[in-house]
């Protein structure tokens, strides 16, 4: 077990290493001077030189390093927790990321919880009532869920709840834009602003979770020990919810780990659409303004998060299911 953890961590670090090298090279071979985007044209050359130097692109005199050397410098800075400077915001990437990370965790966490809270029971009910109306409705909804990308869903939600309902005689709806300046201090207002972005992120995961849960539950329900439990006279409820559910729900742990990069992917555009001040919106703006150090920073953050969550998921799985040995 210890050996397994060490091996997994080593592989994770190797993955991050490869990814940083890949993305670093990509952002460096991208045409265009790194500080030309959105920059004040009257900026002094010494400021440019200083910034290029701080980006690890040049030495103090303004002579540029070759790319492998730049990468080594970047890695050195990375080990000190420095991801370089944003081209656009005149700020450290780490500062920007740390400012926005809590907002993203709030939004993504809420979306994940909502998806789990709705998707899993839906899948269980669909499986225990196979081919019923509820089952058919669930699969229909999950079909539609996987066919609507979260940004299109976000736009639809804005149109219905932000525009049409507000202009209707009801004068009721949800706000068009993300967090108010009040931020997290006013929970009710915050919740009110979270409804639409959370919905648009959660639908896809609800679809995936309910589909998976249904399949997993059906598989377990057809096993011999379930028939044995029924044959010895246990009630359907007891068999379904005690014997079957415990085994069927285990693979969800892995699915949650897989879901995280998916939600992050969706959040990049969803946060942009709803002006939610999180890392996704940061990436959205960085993509639109081509601010590569920020894109690189977000990629590294997400990759590190994914590697970490996959590891946690595997370890949790081993604890939850004693049959699994590493």
């Amino acid at each position: 077990m210890t050996f397994y953890v060490i091996r997994r961590v080593a592989i994770g670090i190797f993955l991050l290493f490869v990814m940083s090298a890949m993305f670093f090279t990509l952002t460096r071979v991208t045409p265009g001077a790194p500080i030309s985007v959105g920059e004040n044209p009257r900026i002094h050359q010494s400021v440019i030189n200083l910034r290029l130097h701080r980006l690890g692109l040049t030495d103090e005199q303004g002579n540029s390093y070759p790319i492998p050397q730049q990468y080594v410098l970047y890695l050195g800075a990375l080990l000190h927790g420095d991801l370089g400077d944003s081209y656009v915001n005149n700020e450290k990437v780490t500062t920007l990321l740390l400012q926005r990370l809590p907002n993203s965790i709030l939004l993504l966490g809420a979306a994940l919880l909502v998806a789990l809270a709705i998707g899993i029971p839906l899948g269980i009910f669909a499986a225990t009532r196979q081919y019923s109306k509820l089952d058919i409705t669930t699969s229909l909804v999950s079909y539609i869920g996987v066919s609507i990308p979260s940004f299109v869903l976000g736009i639809y939600l804005l149109l219905i709840f932000g525009v049409i309902l507000k202009q209707s005689p009801l004068h009721w709806g949800f706000p068009l834009f993300g967090m108010h300046t009040g931020g997290v201090d006013d929970p009710i207002d915050l919740l009110y602003h979270m409804v639409l972005p959370v919905t648009s992120l959660a639908i896809l995961q609800i679809a995936i979770f309910s589909r998976f849960m249904r399949a997993s539950m059906l598989e377990v329900l057809h096993q011999d020990y379930i028939r044995t439990a029924r044959a010895k006279g246990l009630s359907i409820e007891k068999v379904n919810y005690k014997h079957a559910l415990r085994n069927a729900i285990l693979p969800i742990i892995t699915l949650v780990a897989i879901a995280i990069p998916q939600i992050v992917n969706g959040a990049i555009i969803t946060e942009g659409i709803f002006s939610w001040p999180g890392t996704g919106q940061l990436a959205f703006q960085a993509v639109v303004t081509r601010d590569y150090p920020v894109i690189l920073g977000v990629v590294m953050l997400v990759a590190a998060g994914t590697v970490l969550f996959n590891l946690i998921a595997d370890l949790t799985y081993a604890i939850a299911d004693p049959r699994i040995r590493y």
């Binding site: 993955l15 490869v18 045409p31 539609i144 066919s147 990069p261 992917n265 590569y292």
Partner: protein, 331 residues
Amino acid sequence: MAQVPPLPIGPAGVPGAVPDQLSVETTVQQERDLTRPGAKADEFGGAPELGFWRLAVIRFLHHRVATGALIILGIIVLSAIVVPIITGDLYRVQDYRHPFKPPFQNLQHLLGTDDLGRDELARLLRGARVSIMVGVLAVVGYLLIGGTLGALAGYYGGWLDNALMRFTDIIISAPFLLVVIAVTAATGGVRLTTVIIVIAATGWYEIGRLMRAQFLVLREQEFVQAARALGASNARIIVRHVLPNALAPIIVSATLGVSGIILLEAALGFLGYSIPPPEPSWGNMLQNFEQYLLDDQAYLVVFPATALVITALCINLVGDGIRDALDPRQR
């Protein structure tokens, strides 16, 4: 249905699969009712022999939802191919006197016009062309790269297998959208060919893994050993013996892949990283959504968004229909 005569095993060399499928009573009945030319009756005078693929087509056509989705998809694809040829440059002809013409008002602009007075319907169909082209070509790329590497990795194992699995780990842990954007930007400028190549080069891993899994199972089976005993070369075994048996899940995954790519391309277009203007794509038609929503021009948002969802939904339904048709035991 008690007196089913002994059934002939279909001619296609699909070990194990055919007898199972024929035991499905309805299929047997449907098969009997068929009096197609070329379907020869066997010596028992019962069911005509039908190959695996022909049976799959029959099963697919009995799946009403999937068939309906296929018909709608066919209409979308056909009009995306044919109509732009007839209307020509209409999608980019600007009419400054008539911007934001509402839809369903006159026949000249059935779905209205956009901010520059361009015909919305012509733009939608042109955009459909872009979406479908990217979807199909990128999936062909998936199949070429993922299929080849997956087959080789599954059949030979070794370092290639390890490399494939590590590559997959890397791709899975990165936010795919940002990967595609970074690569597109790095290859200089946004062009449709670049987008297609980048999507194909980064997204093939799913089909690669699937192919590898299929080959891992199939290479141990008796018919492969038999082929080897008869002196068949590795290349022949891979192409003629294993590949045809590995195809079913690959076809399903490729179909579902098309809708995934279409949605990805739309997201890229939405961010300005797909085909550049004035060429329309469903993604970049949604770019100014805020302005349209606030100015009561919601139809300019609803049309491309709905086109996108309907197309993706139809492809997914067809994909699931194919899955059921190819593997009836899974239902």
